[in-house]
């Protein structure tokens, strides 16, 4: 338990002292929202409530996905500068390190997401209290899933050169396939099939359910799928931290 606390504390302290990262993580969601919302929103309405309602959960998904995976990528920097070694040689279980990294990544991703939540009333989106609670719950689940994805991936890499490749070849497709920007139920079949294996699709759908009141997937299915992803990815991350002769 103390090990887990240490891992999370370390990362949060580092975010706190890294003012550039902290401030940019506060500004980034605004950028997403205004570019996507006003650019695309001017030309279309959807679900009767306007595109902004529709796009809002998608922007939350985008922000959570990129922030949490970016936070996880810092593991690679730590490995490169040798700092990770000092952490890995401490008497902390590999599971605690993996889970701690996942939790801290999720918390870091929730910083910009909270900015988006605070903006809700300004955007003219009125949510009932149960819907708001539902949305926050979905965000937490999404943040942990994406963070687990990031940690399980980043723990494998020894060089930062993979970042742009990962971002372009994995994250962007995952985001575009997810239906964050368009309704999945009206998408072509091949796209819908691909979305079935995309955790971002379930996460965005769950958040959208809270905002718009209807979903593509049954909410319980989404929760189960995301929970499954979290378990498997945490297990994978633990394995990566334990394996490898040189740690």
């Amino acid at each position: 338990m103390r090990g887990l606390f240490a891992v999370v504390m370390l990362d949060l302290k580092r975010l706190w002292v890294d003012r550039v990262r902290l401030i940019s993580s506060l500004i980034q969601p605004l950028l997403y929202l205004f570019v996507l919302g006003s650019g695309l929103g001017a030309s279309s309405t959807m679900g009767g409530k306007g595109y902004l309602h529709y796009i809002y959960p998608g922007v939350l998904g985008l922000s959570l996905l990129f922030s949490s995976v970016f936070a996880a990528m810092l593991i690679v920097f730590d490995r490169q500068i040798g700092f990770l070694k000092a952490v890995l040689v401490a008497p902390v279980s590999r599971f605690a390190i993996a889970l701690g990294k996942i939790i801290s990544g999720a918390l870091q991703a929730l910083v910009p997401a909270t900015v988006l939540l605070v903006l809700l009333p300004l955007l003219g989106l009125d949510l009932s209290l149960p819907a708001f609670v539902e949305l926050v719950g979905a965000m937490l689940l999404a943040a942990i899933t994406f963070s687990a994805l990031g940690v399980a991936t980043a723990a494998r890499f020894r060089s930062t050169t993979v970042f742009p490749i990962l971002s372009n070849a994995v994250l962007l497709p995952m985001f575009f396939l997810s239906g964050a920007l368009y309704p999945l139920d009206r998408a072509p079949t091949w796209l819908r099939l691909l979305a079935h294996v995309d955790p971002v699709a379930y996460a965005v759908d769950l958040m959208r359910g809270a905002v718009l009141g209807h979903t593509v997937y049954p909410p319980l299915l989404s929760i189960a799928v995301l929970g499954g992803f979290i378990v498997v990815l945490t297990w994978l991350a633990t394995r990566v931290f334990s394996a490898g002769e040189e740690i």
Binding site: R2, M9, K13, R14, I81
Partner: protein, 323 residues
């Protein structure tokens, strides 16, 4: 728990390590007693870091057994890690965090409560003379200060055993002296130190030294014992043609080694033979030197090669020395 308290600090038997085709360690048998300061001395690529990493639970041996403080370095690595501290060759501080926070967080990693970690950090800052820089970002410290913080970090959980891997590489003389002074203090208080180095002056203050070359320990003993193995005094001749001088010396019953410094001879009474040699050598001698054997001479004598590979230059990481 039974023999853990009385067992040697370090014990290896038939330790081998292979990286693919590279045979980095070829059967290491080693025992380090508690309270000892033990140095592993050898050139880059000799297997120092590999042996170090196995003992520090960072690497699995291909063959053989390593026990640290009575625990198996592979199967009981958690028990080992709870009782050891380590200073790596590469810096391992979070540069953006303050010195105090670096120590505090490491305390948490070693299972201290938040309060205990804070108290221990303050204590270490004081004993290591780091109070003035306690709230400075770690990246803004001088090289010597950074190393002292790393030492403090390694000591945060009050370890029984301290591992130091080329710990003062690249430091100036003053910073080095200060660092080793602190290490000595730790040994004086009953701690055990296992260090690697390829500088003989860093190995010199150790209680015992193991010379390692090509993955094997070629000599082990106190610095004085090792020097005695040279068997006499050292005579160093810098001539106009060292190779020719060596040939002549060999023909006349001597056993010279040629190094970058000149031709090296070990004689029971070097000062006695010097005048005759100077008179009869076929090449002109520019400089002649008689001295007590150094660890450098020991290494040269045993391997025919120089330890540091020429004049003190920053050591590049040896290719194949570790993966």
């Amino acid at each position: 728990m039974t023999d853990a308290a009385t067992s040697p600090a370090l014990e290896t038997r038939g330790l081998h390590k292979r990286y693919g085709a590279v045979h980095a360690l070829r059967g290491i048998d080693l025992t380090v007693q508690r309270g000892e300061m033990f140095a592993l001395l050898g050139p880059n690529g000799a297997g120092k870091t590999t042996l170090f990493s196995i003992l520090a639970t960072l690497l699995r041996p291909s063959e053989g057994e390593a026990r640290v403080l009575g625990f198996d370095a592979v199967r009981e690595r958690v028990q080992v890690r709870q009782r050891m501290g380590i200073v790596f060759q590469e810096p391992a501080l979070e540069g953006k965090l303050s010195v105090r926070d670096n120590l505090y967080l490491m305390g948490l990693f070693y299972g201290l409560s938040s309060r205990a970690a804070k108290a221990r950090s303050i204590e270490l800052l004081r004993t290591l003379g780091l109070e003035e820089v306690a709230d400075r970002e770690a990246q803004k410290l001088s090289g010597g200060q950074k190393r002292r913080v790393e030492l403090a970090r390694a000591l945060v959980a009050t370890p029984e055993l301290l591992f130091l891997d080329e710990a003062t590489l690249g430091l100036d003389v003053d910073a080095r002296r200060q660092f080793w002074g602190e290490v000595r203090r730790y040994v004086g208080a009953g701690g055990t130190v296992f260090l690697t180095t390829h500088y003989m002056d860093e190995a010199e203050p150790a209680d015992r030294i193991a010379l390692i070359d090509h993955g094997q320990i070629i000599a082990m003993g106190s610095p004085q014992e090792l020097k005695n193995r040279v068997g006499g005094g050292v005579l160093l001749l810098a001539t106009e043609d060292d190779a020719q001088a060596a040939v002549w010396l060999r023909e006349h019953g001597h056993n010279p080694e040629v190094s970058e410094r000149g031709v090296l001879l070990v004689e029971p009474e070097p000062a006695t033979v010097l005048p005759a040699l100077l008179a009869s050598l076929p090449v002109r001698t520019r400089r002649a030197e008689v001295h007590e054997p150094s660890l450098e001479d020991v290494f040269l004598k045993l391997t025919g090669r120089a330890l540091e590979g020429g004049p003190a230059k920053p050591a590049p990481r040896a290719a194949g020395g570790r993966p």
